[in-house]
Amino acid sequence: MIALAVQISLVMMGASVLLAFIRLAKGPTTSDRVVAADTLATNVLGVIALFAIQTHNKLFIIAVLALAILSFVGTTVYAKFLERGKIIE
């Protein structure tokens, strides 16, 4: 049952990655792209968690934690840059 659920979830995640990617490619504004990238990063988080379940490797959860922290940093930096054209005032 779990395996099936994971498979289905993965398909949904795959679809959502593709959708987010479409937004990334389409824009139209850079802000849209940043949002899309942020979503994409979160999607990757989900994929990693599901993959951890699929391969039954609990060590991958650490990657989730790390990616969560870092995608936040990335988004922050982009946002700062977008607003002022620079990231340090």
């Binding site: 979503t39 979160t42 607003e83």
Partner: protein, 123 residues
Amino acid sequence: MSDALAAILLLGGSFFMLVASIGLIRLPDVYCRMHAATKATTFGMGGILLGASLIFQSTTVTTQALLAIFFLFLTAPVAAHLISRAAYKRGPDLCDDTTHDAYGKYLEGRKAEEESPQRYGDA
């Protein structure tokens, strides 16, 4: 029982992630998309991580998953705030259906204030 719950959590989480992405495509402007992207993804990730901790039945995974969830909830709104504010300042680009724009008025006021000489004349 716990398996079923885990499966539901996983499916639900993934579903919300999907919803977020669909929202990203369908909603009209960056602020609306942000709604979907922030709420649904955070929620979805929470579901998936909880499901994972149920499946692994391991303290480490559970605590780490909880930390991750905590962290996501801590940061997602901040990211949303930063991006939307930046988006607004680059050029509001609000969709045509938008009814109110209090922020725009606020920014205009602040700008006028900064430019007015009286502010410094008081001293």
